[in-house]
Subunit: 341 residues, 2 copies
DNA sequence: ATATATTGTGCAACCGATTGCACTACGATT
DNA sequence: AATCGTAGTGCAATCGGTTGCACAATATAT
């Protein structure tokens, strides 16, 4: 029946001590006697006291909230990153505030601003597809808030980054296709303002050239990389009669779209056209044939981002030097690209 | 180069006015002259002023944060609900703080507690599988924080609820299977402490009986409803030589697991065994054959939950009467359950 | 027994915005 | 000319913990 919220003043009054003592007792301050602590804690639970983080944050300057900005939470990659982040920061009593940009620039800006206003102790972000400017991220830095970018990153001074080696992931995927005997490999790529798509394209190109296959710009198709885009692009390729024997898609969803079109046309996968996606979404294992893909070490990415945050926030002296981490991706080979056993 | 954060005091000082005026000017208080407002706003942006929500929240009592507690964000159902919630509350300037219980009771408790401590203005939650007690939710009510439960709900006085008619969803799914000629329909169900599984089981049973088919408890199998569980259960059914011609699974993942086992065994779907899942996850459309499923109106559920929250929070007078909303699910029929055209 | 640590608690300022109330000035009303 | 209304701003308390510093009491060292 706790109608009015109880404060440390209420506890202090009934116990005939000062609020400072109550505050310290609740936080297990070493200078408070065991007896007082016990009394305070008992009274606190008796009065149904709930610690007010807002008041504490105002005075202490720490909200113990870590802000996260990413395109969409329902993408397995991003939700795994969140999981990794949560695992680490929760041990340090931080809470996570997740926001989605839905790949929209304005929304991303608004989210960042909201997190700044909320006085979060740090921000971990992966930038939206539409984003090409970064004043909002600069503002984070200006406010001395630790900023860690992952996967989709930008060059922002004083921001740390965690990425996988997209070049390598693509290089290995394409090399694998070449080893399977493919020669006319189409590449589905995304908006080139994002580092990830740019580097994967480079990996694709270099793998081809290293294997003596000429790079053909006509085989590189840029789209929004969703399921529908994959379908459309694939249909267009077929309609145009483009000669191809494999697809390396920079997203599993677009690969899936292509796969659906091919299956509808009774074109055999991987015999006629082999496919490799990117992200290793769980559904890649469900579909028929299983979709080969590049695993991005999402959970580890989150853990590392979180670790950097914790280090930076616990780092008191002087200027913190941002770090750049590059993880090694892993090619997962499934039936969609396996021509021979 | 804004090293020290600027406050309304800084603005006040340079403009030779009081902080009260600055505060009002920034919020477009009607009593402040247009000239002053303009001057204040210009100075604010010049000094790179960032509104401190924490201070405002302490004084005003509103954090403008809505807490969300759900099992996992990477389930399409839940992320769609989030989307629905965000759409509505963002218009009212609320922000959302998402937490995941991972279906774990302790984590759920901790999350709720953290949200209470963060002084959120309301909580929207869907309970974890493990949860059977609800003191933590009671605490939310005790603190006068609006509480809205969705999908997986419990009877908590003064909490509003938003659910779909799980009974009906199951009833229609099973009726559909019966119409397709199925008679020995296995039901995959989950932990019975959750309303959703309980009601779906009832719908299953009633549909059978209404069509003159005896309910056979041996055909109802309880599991954790993940992909692996579906596989195991299916394998067990085959090993046991259970006679069945259809499966109605209370989750798409378990249905998918069963599907994988059946396909591996070259058992034809839907000819030999028809399947219907529940949740209408996107992958149900990807797989072969397409998995029939029951759509839960997730986005609408989120919107309604948000609407209730906003109404309750804007409701000033007296006691708020909690509402119970029941949405109508929609059976999506795909190839996995379609024996005849 | 005296000097020095150590323990346990209180005092009071503070974090930064909000807001009810008071007050001035000036135009409108009668 | 006196009264009233209203626009525009200031005053000061407040939200609820936190924390540096002070200080008394007790413990330890010399």
């Amino acid at each position: 029946m706790a109608k009015d919220k109880t404060t440390i003043y209420d506890i202090a009054k009934t116990l005939q001590v000062t609020p400072s003592t109550v505050s310290r007792a609740l936080k297990d301050h070493p200078r408070i006697s065991a007896k007082t602590k016990k009394a305070v804690k008992e009274m606190a639970s008796q009065l149904n006291y709930q610690h007010n983080n807002v008041a504490a944050a105002l005075r202490s300057g720490n909200t113990f909230i870590l802000g996260i900005v990413l395109p969409k939470v329902n993408r397995t990659f991003f939700s795994s990153v969140i999981k990794g982040v949560e695992q680490l920061v929760s041990q340090a009593n931080y809470r996570v505030m997740i926001t989605q940009s839905h790949d929209n620039f304005k929304t991303e800006q608004a989210n960042i601003q909201a997190l700044i206003n909320a006085q979060v102790d740090g921000i971990i972000a992966s930038i939206a597809k539409e984003t090409t400017r970064y004043e909002h991220y600069q503002r984070v830095i200006d406010q001395q808030i630790p900023l860690i970018l992952f996967d989709r990153v930008m060059e922002i001074s004083n921001a740390s980054t965690v990425v996988i080696d997209d070049f390598l992931g693509a290089y290995e995927a394409v090399s694998h296709l070449i080893e399977q005997g493919c020669r006319r490999i189409v590449h589905f790529t995304g908006v080139q303002s994002l580092n990830i798509y740019k580097y994967r394209l480079r990996g694709y190109r270099e793998a081809l050239e290293d294997h003596g296959i000429a790079f053909d710009p006509a085989l590189v198709i840029e789209s929004d990389m969703q399921l529908e885009d994959g379908k459309q692009v694939m249909q267009q390729l077929l309609d145009d009669g483009v000669d191809l024997d494999a697809i390396f898609a920079s997203s599993d969803h677009s690969a899936m779209g292509a796969m659906q079109v091919l299956k509808a046309q009774k074109i055999r996968i991987p015999e006629e056209i082999a496919i490799v996606g990117f992200a290793d979404e769980p559904f890649t294992a469900f579909v028929e044939p299983g979709l080969s893909s590049v695993n991005q070490k999402s959970e580890m990415m989150g853990q590392i981002a979180a670790k950097i945050f914790l280090e930076q926030v616990q780092f008191s002296g002087g200027e913190y030097t941002p770090t750049k981490t590059v993880l090694k991706p892993e090619l997962i080979i499934r039936a969609s690209s396996l021509k021979r056993q």
